[in-house]
C-alpha cells in the first residue's frame, strides 16, 4: 500500500503543452486574421471615401 504511484511526467507535460500550444495558435491566428481584415476594411473604406463611391474595385483580393 505504501508503494508510490508512477510519475509519468512526460505524458503530463505533453498534455499541457498540446493544450497551450493549440490555444495560443488558435487565438493568435484569429487575432492576425482579424487585424489583416480590419486593415483591408480600413483601406477600402478610405479609398471609397476619397473617390466617393466610384472606385470600389481596387479593394478586392
Amino acid at each position: 500500500m505504501t508503494e508510490l504511484p508512477p510519475t509519468n511526467l512526460p505524458y503530463l507535460f505533453a498534455a499541457f503543452a498540446v493544450v497551450w500550444v493549440v490555444f495560443f495558435i488558435y487565438a493568435a491566428y484569429m487575432s492576425w486574421r482579424r487585424q489583416s481584415a480590419q486593415r483591408e476594411l480600413d483601406e477600402m473604406r478610405e479609398s471609397n471615401g476619397q473617390e466617393s463611391g466610384s472606385g470600389g474595385n481596387d479593394g478586392g483580393g
Binding site: P5, Y11, A15, G60
Partner: protein, 244 residues
C-alpha cells in the same frame, strides 16, 4: 456605399467598447490561467493511484465540459437563426461551433495522452471515446457544410439543422459511462456524479480550472464572433465594389 460612409457613431463606439472588453477578458484569462497552473502543479495533491499524470484531469475535464457548452450555444443559436433568420444568430452559432470543435479536439487529445500511461493503451473503442469522436465528426461536418454550401444562405440554414440535430449526441456522451460498461471513469461532476468521487481540494481546484477555462472559452468565442463580423463586412464591401 452610403450606408457604410454614414455609419452611426453609436455603433462604432459600441464596437470599440466590445474590443476593450475583449482585451480586459484576455487579461483576466491570463491571470486566471497562471493561478490555475500554480494550483494544478503546486497545490493539487498527487493522486494516490495514478500519480502526477492525474493532473491532466484539471484541463481534460473543463475542456470537455466547455466543448459541450460550445455545442449547446451552437444549437440554441441555430434555433434562433432558423426562427429569426438574422445574421447575428448565425455568427454566434458558427463561432461557437468552431470553438467547440477546438475544445473537443483538445479533450480527445488530452484524453489520448492520459490514457496511454493509465489504461496502457492510447485509444479504446469504448462508449465514451466513440461517442465523443462521433461528436467531433458531427461538428466538423457542420463546419464543412458552411464551407462547401452553394450559397452562404443555404450554408447557414443547413449547418443550423446539423448543429441542432448534432446536439443530441452531447447528453449521450455524458451519460455513456453510465449506460454502458466502459473503461472510462464515471462522471465526477454534474448530476450523475457519485458522492465523494473527488476529494474536496481536488473538487475546488477543478471548479477553479473550470472558471479559468470558461474565461478562455468566452474570450475565444468573442474573438471569433468579432472576426466573423469584420469578415462579413469585408465581403459585403467587396460584393458592392464588384457590382458597381
Amino acid at each position: 456605399m452610403a450606408a457604410i460612409a454614414g455609419r452611426p457613431a453609436g455603433k462604432a463606439s459600441w464596437q470599440r467598447g466590445l474590443r476593450d472588453a475583449r482585451l480586459w477578458l484576455l487579461l483576466i484569462t491570463a491571470v486566471l490561467m497562471l493561478v490555475d497552473g500554480y494550483l494544478i502543479f503546486m497545490v493539487a495533491p498527487t493522486d494516490a493511484v495514478l500519480g502526477h499524470v492525474q493532473r491532466i484531469f484539471y484541463v481534460h475535464v473543463p475542456i470537455s465540459i466547455l466543448s459541450f457548452l460550445g455545442f449547446l450555444i451552437c444549437a440554441v443559436a441555430g434555433i434562433g437563426y432558423l426562427i429569426r433568420r438574422t445574421e447575428r444568430w448565425d455568427r454566434v452559432a458558427h463561432a461557437s461551433a468552431e470553438v467547440g470543435v477546438v475544445f473537443v479536439t483538445l479533450a480527445l487529445v488530452t484524453g489520448i495522452i492520459w490514457a496511454r500511461p493509465v489504461w496502457n493503451a492510447w485509444w479504446q473503442w469504448e462508449p465514451r471515446l466513440t461517442t465523443t469522436l462521433i461528436l467531433w465528426f458531427i461538428y466538423v461536418a457542420y463546419l464543412m457544410i458552411r464551407q462547401y454550401a452553394p450559397t452562404p444562405q443555404q450554408g447557414r440554414t443547413w449547418s443550423a439543422v446539423v448543429g441542432i440535430i448534432g446536439f443530441v449526441d452531447v447528453p449521450i456522451v455524458y451519460y455513456s459511462v453510465q449506460w454502458w460498461q466502459s473503461i472510462h471513469p464515471k462522471q465526477v461532476i454534474g448530476p450523475e456524479a457519485a458522492e465523494g468521487a473527488l476529494e474536496p481540494i481536488m473538487a475546488q481546484i477543478l471548479v477553479f480550472s473550470l472558471v479559468a477555462t470558461l474565461a478562455l472559452f468566452t474570450y475565444l468565442l468573442l474573438e471569433r464572433v468579432a472576426l466573423r463580423g469584420i469578415e462579413d463586412r469585408l465581403s459585403q464591401l467587396r460584393r458592392e465594389g464588384n457590382t458597381d
